[in-house]
């Protein structure tokens, strides 16, 4: 039975999406529970696989039993759960599950009458993201990339006002990214004659001098960068997430970009190899400078924002710089940091957007000036918000601290001081923003406990939103405390052996 677990991860949300769309015709109220059940199955399978992988190493699965045959090349599609993606699979399916529970009330108000479409698209998006993460085939990865992208365009376009324009911008950028990726895959296929990641990686060392493979690498890299909104391809992201319905942003912001980062890691370290990265030093220093720039620029822009959702989108941009930079440090602590941060940042961003969603649900908007007194109105939500921001700043013992620790350690080892400076600057900027929000939300109102001041009635978000939010923010601390265990049992094994000696 456990042999089938990898495919269950994808089938859960895929069936959920189909059933949600289908039952939506005659029983719209069934859509939401169906999606939740599908995601729960997926999460259970992913969690079980984390333990299996930690014990027994990578699990491979051939779709339809079309394995390799003697004398023939590989025809079937392989899916793989190994040290590199198992944590991300669990994170994606877990966050999607919590978010699906969380979004019900939001969708009821924001997208009344269209709930079933939303949930079908939601589940399809998660299918795509999980597919990208789990597949062991570079063309299949492209297919899942498009599934995820098409559903996210629609999810964003559901928003009001400028959402159409934002979705259109995203569509242009996303399609360009996908095209570049596909072109790169074409180059690889032309040279190696296979699409299976294991096979390609076995062939590439022999073809190190090949210009075509190098061009393919650069194209794929650019494609992944466009998809993850890495500087300078970042323009689409803040508008897309700020104008999207809050429920869509809650699922897209934490997961979509992280999965794109994972794609980059997969291509860099298992399709190509660490040797290949180290021997293309031009790209390496370029990527590191761009990462620092991404962090610095996003930090400065976040300081000027007046809308909470947009502010959070800029945080997403700066965190992408963390991960890309960590990966391109191409040493053990840096890569460890990047891999820890992919999971940690998915959790942090999810918690952040959940807390913002709660605020938007009650206040109707998320301008910073509207937050006056919000700490008295929604104390529990704001407590979760503060914990989340602390994690983003990197206050120990939250997960953000440890990933940042590894990243800085890696940068110190590689002597890339500008990256350290950028990381620290971003922490400081986030600290400034947190305390700006505390000042507005807590201190800028007459304290209700002082006699004569008006009372501020409590008005928390509904429990179905509050519980996932609080759970997620507490999870950030738990994840932080578990970092060492995860690194020792899983992530350390995902670091290429060339770096561990």
């Amino acid at each position: 039975m456990t042999v089938q677990l990898p495919i269950v991860i994808i089938l859960g949300p895929l069936l959920g999406a189909v059933l949600a769309a289908f039952t939506g015709w005659f029983r719209p109220r069934l859509s939401h529970p169906l999606v939740v059940i599908g995601l729960a199955i997926s999460f259970a399978a992913a969690l079980k696989l984390v333990f299996i992988v930690a014990d027994a190493g990578a699990q491979k699965y051939w779709l339809g039993g079309w394995g390799p045959k003697q004398g023939h090349g590989v025809v079937g599609i392989q899916i793989t759960v190994d040290y590199l993606n198992t944590l991300l699979l669990a994170a994606v399916s877990g966050i999607a599950l919590l978010t699906s529970v969380y979004t019900r009330r939001l969708v009821d108000t924001e997208l009344a009458g269209r709930q079933r479409y939303f949930y079908a698209l939601f589940s399809l998006l998660v299918t795509g993201l999980l597919g990208i993460t789990i597949t062991g085939d570079i063309f299949n990865l492209y297919v899942f990339m498009e599934i995820a992208a098409l559903s996210s365009y629609a999810l964003i376009a559901y928003g009001r006002g400028r959402a159409y324009m934002a979705a259109f911008n995203y569509l242009i950028m996303g399609t360009m990214g996908a095209c570049l990726y596909l072109l790169g895959v074409g180059f690889i296929f032309a040279k190696s004659g296979t699409l299976n990641i294991d096979d390609v990686s076995a062939i590439i060392p022999a073809l190190r001098q090949s210009q075509a493979l190098f061009v393919g690498f650069v194209l794929i890299l650019l494609g992944a960068w466009a998809k993850m909104a890495f500087f300078p391809f970042h323009g689409w992201l803040p508008n897309a997430y700020a104008h999207a319905p809050t429920a869509s942003a809650a699922i897209l912001a934490p997961l979509a970009t992280k999965v794109a980062v994972y794609t980059m890691l997969r291509i860099m370290f298992t399709v190509y190899s660490i040797d290949y990265i180290i021997h293309s030093p031009g790209i390496q220093s370029l990527a590191l400078y761009l990462s620092s720039l991404a962090i610095v620029i996003a930090s400065f822009f976040s300081l000027t924002q007046t809308n909470l959702k947009k502010l959070a989108s800029y945080f997403v941009l700066s965190e992408i710089g963390y991960m890309v930079g960590g990966a391109w440090l191409a040493n053990k602590p840096g890569l460890t940091g990047a891999m820890v941060h992919v999971v940690a940042d998915a959790a942090m961003t999810s918690a952040l957007f959940m807390a913002i969603g709660c605020i938007v649900y009650r206040l109707g908007q998320a301008q910073l000036d509207d937050l006056k007194g919000v700490f008295f109105k929604m104390p529990v939500t704001m407590a979760a918000f503060v914990v989340t921001m602390a994690a983003l700043i990197g206050v120990p013992p939250t997960c953000g601290f440890f990933s940042k620790w590894y990243l800085i350690q890696g940068a110190a080892q590689a002597g890339v001081w500008h990256f350290i400076a950028a990381l620290l600057l971003s922490s400081l900027v986030k600290a400034i923003i947190l305390f700006r929000i505390i000042e507005i939300g807590y201190n800028r109102v007459p304290h209700p406990a002082i006699e004569g001041n008006p009372a501020i009635p409590r008005n928390e978000a509904p429990l179905s939103m509050l519980i996932p939010t609080v759970a997620m923010s507490l999870g950030l601390i738990a994840l932080g405390l578990a970092t060492n265990t995860l690194v020792n049992t899983i992530i350390a094994n995902a670091v290429p052996t060339a770096l561990t000696q």
């Binding site: 602590p333 602390a390 700043i393 990197g394 206050v395 120990p396 013992p397 440890f402 620790w405 800085i408 350690q409 110190a412 080892q413 350290i420 620290l424 922490s427 400081l428 600290a431 400034i432 305390f435 000042e439 201190n443 304290h447 406990a449 002082i450 006699e451 405390l481 970092t483 060492n484 690194v487 020792n488």
Partner: protein, 494 residues
């Protein structure tokens, strides 16, 4: 060296966190809430005292909760220095709580539950710093202390408080994130260890440039120690209510800053490295000596009593850093002793400032002519506190200054002797005239202080307790010296 594996240090830290929870729950019943604090403080003190005999016997208590990074855990270790600091913080928590009750209740201050809640968390964090076995654990509690004291500093929630709070966080979080954190990571990357150990963690032959850079990053990174130019948060934080200034900005917060620096200098760099590398020792001494003199000079110019005390604190903190920077046995012993001595003296002064404010609403020294005759108890306590800070017998401050002065003569930095003496004169110059005028000159025309009378018992009693403490420390300084001696024995090899 004997080590005892024990969970007690963790219990000591947790008692006040548990108390914080109870405080939050019992907010509606103030008496019950405050009895909780006293119970917690008593338990905590009892536990600490139960650790003392073994520690004075040269043993160490150790406990590792979990590993956080390879070779670095969330781990606690109780040695003489940590225990001494924890004892001081916790024992002063009791009079401060009595004072807070006397100070906050009659003025009907808002959000008292929040106040006591964060106070208890802050005490937990301070003890956590005291017991940290490595730099990472220390850093975690250091940050927890910054964050938990922010609501206390901004307690009044008016514009001044917000401004002061903003400054407070900018300095403390800014420096710790931008300087101390990267310095710590570089140490870890270089040596693979962050444990405080005799002789430090650096291998022989580590480049001096790197050491100098790291040293400066640490000295400024722990800005709670208020080395110039990162001192401005301390006067800014004086917008806090008097009890907060008293316990946090004379004892817990600022002492955590110097404590961290002592730990880094003795446990990460190592006293031998410091003594054998003149440039390192000189940097510490010059930065501290400069701060010491300049802060004392600025204190002379301050009319607001709390800012005068704040600048005095900045100077006194540098005594401790300078003492350690001398890298001699008696210098370090003097620095260690100066933690409790200055704590008792300064908390007395801050509590008196609060009591004076409560008695007659005066905040400025120039208004206080003749006030001594109206509130003799409070002003006598103030006099004793100032003696302790100046370093005159029969108060504890004399003992620590004695060792500091001896230490400066034994070291390669004899000029420090002159710095200590000059600063003591300046201390006398900014405290004694004020005390004299309060008792002996006649009130000015605007302020006759006719209605002024001693503040309520709950305010006066703690002031008298701490003032008495200053004197008792002088007579029992031998006991305290045992702590300092054990610490020196552990970390200074020659």
């Amino acid at each position: 060296m004997d080590t005892i594996h024990s969970f007690t240090p963790v219990w000591v830290i947790l008692t006040s966190s548990v108390a914080a929870l109870l405080i939050a729950l019992l907010g509606r019943w103030p008496n019950l809430r405050e009895s909780c604090i006293f119970a917690a403080a008593a338990i905590k003190l009892g536990l600490l005292l139960s650790l003392a005999p073994a520690v004075l016997d040269g043993k160490l208590y150790e406990f590792e909760v979990m590993e956080l990074l390879p070779n670095v855990g969330l781990a606690f270790k109780v040695d003489a220095l940590g225990l001494l600091f924890a004892l001081v913080s916790v024992s002063l928590w009791i009079p401060t709580t009595i004072f807070s009750m006397g100070f906050l209740r009659p003025l009907k201050r808002h959000a008292q539950t929040r106040f006591f809640f964060f106070f208890a968390i802050a005490i937990s964090s301070a003890v956590g710093v005291a017991f940290s076995a490595n730099l990472l654990t220390l850093f975690i509690f250091y940050e927890a202390l910054s964050l938990s004291t922010y609501p206390l500093v901004t307690h009044h929630q008016d514009d001044d408080a917000i401004k002061g709070g903003r400054k407070y966080l900018t300095y403390l979080l800014g420096t710790s994130i931008a300087l101390a954190l990267p310095a710590m990571i570089i140490v870890y990357q270089q040596t693979g260890s962050l444990d405080f150990a005799n002789g430090g963690v650096f291998a022989d032959g580590t480049s001096t440039t790197l050491l100098v850079v790291l040293l400066v990053m640490f000295l400024f990174g722990f800005a709670k120690a208020a080395l110039m130019p990162f001192h401005a948060w301390l006067p800014g934080a004086m917008v806090a209510p008097a009890p907060v200034s008293a316990l946090l900005h004379a004892v817990a917060v600022v002492k955590v800053g110097v404590f961290s620096i002592i730990r880094v200098l003795t446990g990460i760099f190592g006293v031998d490295l410091l003594a054998n590398t003149p440039s390192l020792s000189t940097i510490v001494c010059v930065l501290a000596g400069f701060t010491l003199i300049v802060a004392s000079l600025i204190a002379l110019t301050q009319d607001n009593i709390k800012s005068r005390l704040a600048y005095s604190t900045i100077g006194q903190l540098s005594y401790i850093i300078l003492g350690v920077g001398l890298a001699t046995k008696s210098g370090i012993a003097g620095a260690t002793l100066h933690i409790p001595m200055h704590a008792f003296g300064k908390i007395t002064l801050f509590l008196c400032a609060g009591a004076i404010y409560q008695a007659c609403g005066a905040k400025c020294i120039s208004q206080m002519h003749g006030i001594g005759r109206k509130i003799p108890l409070t002003m006598t306590a103030f006099f004793i506190g100032s003696l302790c800070v100046i370093g005159l017998p029969p108060t504890g401050g004399f003992v620590s200054k004695w060792y500091l002065l001896t230490g400066s003569l034994n070291s390669g930095q004899q000029w420090a002797f002159a710095v200590f003496l000059t600063s003591s004169l300046l201390n006398a110059a900014y405290f004694l005239p004020f005390v004299y005028k309060a008792f002996f000159s006649s009130p000015s025309d605007e302020a006759k202080w006719e209605s002024a009378k001693e503040p309520p018992l709950l305010t006066v009693v703690p002031v008298l307790i701490t003032a008495m403490g200053c004197v008792l420390l002088f007579f029992f300084s031998g006991k305290l010296y045992q702590f300092a001696d054990k610490f020196v024995e552990l970390y200074v090899s020659k």
